[in-house]
Amino acid sequence: MAFLEFNQVSFSYPQEGRFALRDIQLGFSRDGITAITGANGSGKTTLTKLMIGVLRSTRGTVCLEGRSLEEYSLGEIGRRIGYVFQNPDLQFFCSTVAEEISFGFVNQGCRPETVEEKIQYYLDYFELGNYRHVFPLHLSHGEKRRLAIASVLATEPSFLILDEPTTGLDAYRKRLLADLLIKIAGAGTGISLVSHDQAFVNRLAERVITLEKGRVVWDSGEGRKHG
């Protein structure tokens, strides 16, 4: 049984006639890195939003650990799956960068004496140390992207979904991100990422799924690359 499973899932946005996704049959396991590719508008973002229950399937079911996603609250899903939005502006709601990073683990009851240490770790890794007290929406695009990734990783989810995480990052930051993702995957976290960046996908992904007009047209299947 896969960690996340799509059983004949179709989805159409309310008040839209056509299906954005059609007859999706996919399983995602908790190891390895899966890349989801496809042209603009092929349904990649929609697919990831169905994976975290922000959108609910029109037909078919999405199952998380064997139970239908409908049985989970968003909070319960959030504690298992971390989601980095395509547009980072949508996921910030705190007054400072440091608060944004610590929000997840503080609310999940992390021990007070380790809070500061964890914040510092993520600030350092993502080179956001100088922006500790800055309002998140005032950051530059690349910085916002890094903060979005940092604040989701800080909740230590057991599965991670990133929607076009490399947009706005320079080559050096892309490499850092790739290294980090490989490290996280190696430590036993499943990762799915949406990306157009062929080099990035080639470097990371063990499995590639390609969407076209809302259908899966290519799935290289599950396999291992990083031992």
Binding site: G75, G78, F85, Q91, N107, L137
Partner: protein
């Protein structure tokens, strides 16, 4: 007739809102609500959309309802703890009026979505309202949904970071909302600012005269509806409750 002039619809919204604010019994407000719904149906508006608009504000409405119920006691006591009456008939009536009023004003405002905002600005400008002012009204109307979407986004984002909003105790929840208030409002303002910059960089207000591609015309139907609405509203106000 279903394509009345935007200005006519605006007059309707103003009349309905004024009545909603003046009326204060649930029965009157309910009648007003039914009337508004009929109007919306007439303009081919899908009523379930009202629910979608109101949903994020349900908690707020419930809160207002409870506050009105508890803090404006009058009439018979319905529920009491010891000597203190918690819910009174008067408070209950006031609370339901309050909630109905919000619903009526929201429903009436839905009339604005039955024409394009562009036409609305055009209409106001032809009535010699300065373009900037008309545009501000348009932006205000535009930003209500933005604010609502922002609220929905934040609530989703907070939960996806592992917080079960439904299970958090009241005190903690209030604290959370208090902390989120400033960043969310400021975020909406930032987005409004970006919009303003992108407009000015495209020449908004740079030239004293604007060119309008179309003209709107008021037809007999518009005059008849406007006069009827204004007359009915004034009559209802003068007649009193």
């Amino acid at each position: 007739m279903a394509n009345l002039d935007p200005r006519t619809k605006m007059i309707m919204v103003v009349c309905l809102s004024i009545l909603a604010l003046l009326y204060n019994t649930p029965a009157q407000l309910f009648l007003l609500f039914v009337f508004t719904l009929m109007l919306l149906l007439f303009f081919n508006f899908r009523l379930n959309v009202i629910g979608v608009y109101l949903k994020p504000f349900l908690a707020l409405m419930l809160f207002l309802f409870v506050v009105q119920c508890v803090f404006s006691p009058s009439g018979l006591s319905i529920l009491s703890v010891g000597q203190v009456s918690l819910v009174t008939s008067g408070g209950l009536l006031l609370g339901s009026s309050m909630v109905l009023r919000i619903i009526v004003v929201t429903a009436a405002a839905m009339l604005f979505t039955t024409f394009s905002p562009r036409d609305f600005i055009l209409g106001l400008v032809q009535w010699k309202v300065p373009y900037e002012l008309a545009f501000m009204v348009f932006i205000a109307l535009r930003f209500l949904p933005v604010f609502r979407d922002e609220l929905v986004n934040v609530i989703t984002a907070v939960q996806l970071r592992g917080v079960d909003l439904k299970k958090v105790p009241w005190k903690q929840k209030l604290d959370l909302y208090r902390r989120l208030f400033f960043p969310v409002v400021y975020g909406v303002m930032l987005k409004a600012q970006h919009l303003a910059v992108s407009m000015e960089s495209r020449g908004f207000r740079a030239y004293p005269t604007r060119t309008y591609l179309r003209r709107l015309n008021l037809y007999y139907a518009d005059y008849i509806v406007m006069v009827t609405f204004l007359a009915a509203t004034i009559t209802l106000i003068v007649m009193g409750p």
